[in-house]
Symmetry: D2
Subunit: 158 residues, 4 copies
């Protein structure tokens, strides 16, 4: 889909991106999101289930809001990586600065199946990166790779 | 919109509904959602800002995922109340049991403005309550009543 | 919501805007959309039911696609009017030129009730007009004012 | 995703399904939608561009409403086929009757790129078919296979 598939990020850029995502975006830390991979074509992260993330005390289902929040964050990370790949001529610092300019315009989540799992995985890919708006698709899976939810979101990127 | 506007809930029902929402739905407690009012026509809740809910360490903005999660929960609460109003012939216990049968089908959130506030308010109303599907509209406001985000969601209700 | 509520459009601007909407946007003509009012705060239009717009031959219900298409168009018209109100210092021609720069980023429609009516009404209001993105809410009603569908959309406004 | 991938439809069922989609759903005929393939796993259709479908007289771009309407219809067709595959024990007639019970709950469309093409293709797949709700993903492409829009929708199926 995107033309920057041949870009290779510097390890320092990837580390800093992960650091911002996992620690700087404080609510991501509250959720417990951990980046597995992030590259010019998309991002994958994971989440260990914990009691605080439960939707209803009667089940051990993950709360739908954890899913929507994770997918919003994941789409943003994928957009950041795609922007980074487009601006490899800029310093690492300058590319990372773009993180604070990113804003979600809107988000849709489709809840396909209830989620009961010890661990979840989230994936995001950029469908289009324009000069002002980026659109992403995201997926939320259980530990067995079963698709629980899908999402799409638009971000303002400049 | 709905015909049950003249229904008056028993205080016990309201208290139990709030208890389930604020404590039983564990992730609502993690977020810190507090119900202000809930009735046959809709629900209002509030949220005190805390560092764990921040979107980016560089600002004190609330994370968009807190907004999407709150609005999903609020829509569900409004649907529960509307279902309760429709089934006033049932015992309180039977009406509360319906909470665990509710499921979000999908959610959309529009982020209008970044949120920087000490306190937030969320409102939800049921646009239609069918026998199988309910649709809601939600709003997320700052402490001055400024509209920050709007949402809509569909729920399976049987 | 918007600050331009005291703006009064020139009759020529309104006529030209309606002309573009009803005739220039060719598919709006195919649908049969007619503008009732358009001002800085929103727009209202109407649609006479015709056999070509039916969803299923067995009923006379309007096709959901007529609703989604109308609401997309209506949101765009409301955004155009809001942009016009913000740029009253520009010539009418310059403001109208902005029509061709408008693009829908995404659209959501909630179908609340099936529509069987001789005539429909559509309403749109701008929730936020930014420098790059505008967000709208729309409603689709039957001839008795019953709400059949709601929508929201984001537009790129450059 | 779905378990009915080994189902083979009777030619009469496929023909009748296409007949209802292209002719019975009158607005599909107004648009000019033609089914290319339909099976238990999804559906593909096409649309020849015509002046009535233009978005703005200044360009030859297809109107976004044609896209949203087509994707809504396509998701519905894919759901119908998936329901048909689940009920192969029923007569063809009984399975076709289910068409009139299908209703769209909601629809989201992401417009990635403006569409200027002589012919368009639409694809839909069912992400989940439940006993009451089905969720689909759809794509809208130009004649060169370039992805112009994506969509997702929920349908009530019983």
């Amino acid at each position: 889909m995107l033309k920057n598939k041949d870009v290779v990020f510097e390890p320092e850029f990837v580390q800093a991106l992960i650091q911002i995502f996992e620690e700087g975006i404080v609510f991501n830390k509250t959720l417990g999101l951990k980046v597995s991979t992030v590259g010019p074509l998309g991002a994958v992260a994971r989440l260990e289930m914990r009691p605080e993330l439960i939707g209803h005390y009667g089940h051990s289902r993950i709360h739908g809001g954890v899913i929507s929040a994770s997918l919003d964050s994941m789409g943003g990370l994928a957009v950041l990586a795609a922007i980074g790949a487009r601006h490899m001529d800029e310093s690492i610092e300058a590319r990372l600065q773009r993180f604070s300019k990113l804003g979600t315009i809107d988000l849709r989540v489709d809840y396909l199946r209830p989620g009961i799992s010890e661990r979840y995985e989230m994936r995001a890919e950029v469908m289009r990166l324009g000069s002002r708006v980026a659109t992403t698709r995201m997926e939320f899976l259980d530990a067995h790779g079963k698709l629980l939810s899908t999402g799409s979101a638009a971000y303002i990127v400049s």
